[in-house]
């Protein structure tokens, strides 16, 4: 008689670490991927920092523009790197036709996703080091100006990044490689509609309702409040956390449903 407990393989940090190691090898062997960590972030900071400096020169009352823009683009890196690392980690298996090899090992889905997320944290660390050095070297700005409130903001942005990566993986499972473009598009859509650099009120009216349900909108608003010298905006951060948790829950439901569809419809043959 087989018991249910016998059927379940216990969670293994060894397998999680192995996922991290697998993608670390890929990163070190793929110099073009370093562009995401050490090249584009520099230009992001230069672009938005220079724009802020120009606006500040034109209008002395707009001196907070540079910190707004730099904090926005630096925090956007948190969102983008956490999302891209997980999504492209999964895509790496499809690009190298390794998905069936991975699926026929004891690696559990949750172990795989946690491994990709941890790898994403390492890449995020690299990218944040790059943007921090660049922002300080050229504009004497550091995210430390945001204060301890930075910690929950980064937490919310990580949660949103991982959640959107789950949505992207769900779309890839369902629609195949044609959905790859969404890996990059989703973060830039969030950039546009969640007021990364600007208050929600400056977003066109018809789009504001979308902005108001996104956790990122509250996270970036909280960052600006902190830069303005106010106390930690717990209410705003609370909304950010609540909507972030709801998004995470919905994205998990979606990716699990798509995994079921993937297995039911035999979509694995697309990658073998």
């Amino acid at each position: 008689m087989v018991t249910a407990a016998n059927d379940r393989l216990p969670f293994s940090w060894l397998r999680v670490r192995t996922v991290v190691r697998r993608h670390r090898y890929v990163l070190f062997r793929s110099p073009h991927r370093w562009f995401d960590l050490a090249f584009w972030p520099v230009f992001d900071v230069l672009l938005w920092g220079s724009l802020g400096a120009f606006v500040a020169q034109q209008s002395p009352t707009s001196r907070s523009t540079t910190p707004y823009l730099l904090a926005g683009i630096m925090l956007f890196q948190v969102l983008m790197q956490s999302q891209i690392a997980v999504a492209t980690g999964f895509m790496e298996e499809t690009w190298t036709r390794n998905l069936l090899n991975v699926m026929t090992t004891p690696l559990r889905e949750i172990e795989y996703v946690i491994g990709l997320a941890l790898m994403g944290m390492l890449k995020l660390l690299a990218a944040m080091t790059t943007v921090s050095i660049t922002a300080f070297a050229f504009y004497r700005f550091g995210l430390g100006e945001v204060g301890f409130g930075l910690i929950p903001i980064v937490g919310v942005l990580l949660l949103v990044g991982w959640s959107t990566s789950m949505l992207v993986i769900g779309l890839l499972l369902r629609y195949g490689q044609s959905a790859e473009i969404l890996a990059w598009a989703t973060t830039f859509a969030i950039l546009a509609v969640s007021g990364v650099f600007n208050p929600v009120e400056s977003i066109p009216g018809p789009i504001q309702p979308i902005a108001k349900i996104l956790p990122t909108t509250y996270a970036f608003t909280a960052a600006r409040d902190l830069l303005d010298g106010g106390g930690v905006p717990w209410a705003t951060l609370g909304w950010a956390a609540l909507s972030g948790v709801i998004l995470a829950g919905l994205s998990m439901i979606y990716v699990l449903r798509m995994l079921k569809v993937f297995r039911t419809r035999g979509f694995v043959t697309r990658y073998s």
Binding site: D7, L9, Y25, R29, N101, T105, R263
Partner: protein
């Protein structure tokens, strides 16, 4: 003493839209058994194989690997299975040694044990010199041999091989076959092999199951199945099932018999 099969599948069915790919397949493999799963294109081999590996969910039926039921026990079941496909590359930005170490990790082996198993596997197949090569640089034969090493790192009870010798030179195919026979004989690992090379299957497998239109149409030793269809070898059976009309002088019956009507 009752032998616990390494794999049991009962009543597997799978449809994709209007197409019934697999229709009531039963399969049982005992420890150390070498089974060929055969059939013409579209017979349902790959779908059956992917269901047995947990990559496709059957519409109906049950699959048990060892003592683990799919789909719930997929991860636990896969710890008892090794999988090699001749058409699947290994991760191309990794060295062979690294790729094997990664898969050993997925199988739950720590770094030291995994590296040792990888080195032993490469040595066993006489390909230790490939350890530092990038996977993308391997020839198809080397890739298959490394793929087998990957699949036996954790000493599985069942080794599933999809077209393991497809497009390989005869000498490499011979090395692959010899290695697989050694794994079955010395490790007691059961083999489940799909192939379009009937002569290869005759050399490698002691039992064959033929699928046609998603159902099992023959199950037995290669000789008994060939005889049941009135042929001298499996290629004749394959051609019958594929509906191929073969001129008498073109049949591949090595015993000199000619093709006859299939008995089903």
């Amino acid at each position: 003493m009752l032998i616990q099969p390494v794999l049991q599948a009962h009543g597997l069915t799978k449809s994709f839209g209007e197409i019934k790919a697999v229709d009531g397949v039963d399969l049982c493999i005992n420890p150390g058994e070498r089974l060929g799963l055969l059939g013409p294109n579209g017979a349902g081999k790959t779908t059956t194989l992917l269901m047995l590996l947990g990559a496709i969910t059957p519409d109906t039926g049950s699959i048990t690997i060892g003592t683990h039921h799919l789909p719930r026990g997929r991860a636990a079941a896969m710890s008892e299975v090794g999988f090699v496909a001749g058409y699947l590359p290994l991760p191309d930005r990794l060295r062979v040694r690294e790729a094997l170490s990664i898969f050993a990790g997925f199988y739950g082996m720590n770094r030291k044990a995994g590296d040792a198993a990888a080195a032993a596997g490469l040595e066993r197949f006489g390909i230790s010199h490939l350890a530092e090569r990038m996977c993308m640089e391997l020839s198809s034969g080397q890739r298959t041999l490394v793929g087998i090493v990957k699949a036996i790192l954790h000493s599985p009870t069942l080794l599933v091989l999809d077209e393991p010798t497809a497009s390989l030179d005869p000498d490499v195919a011979y090395r692959v076959r010899r290695g697989l026979l050694d794994v079955a004989a010395h490790d007691g690992t059961a083999l489940l092999v799909t192939s379009h090379n009937m002569a290869e299957v005759e050399r490698l497998c002691e039992r064959v199951v033929f699928l046609a239109a998603g159902t099992v149409v023959a199950d037995g030793s290669p000789a008994s199945v060939a005889a049941a269809f009135g042929h001298g070898n499996l290629e004749g059976v394959f051609l019958h099932l594929a509906g191929t009309v073969v001129a008498e002088d073109q049949t591949d019956n090595r015993d000199g018999t000619t093709d006859q009507e299939a008995p089903w």
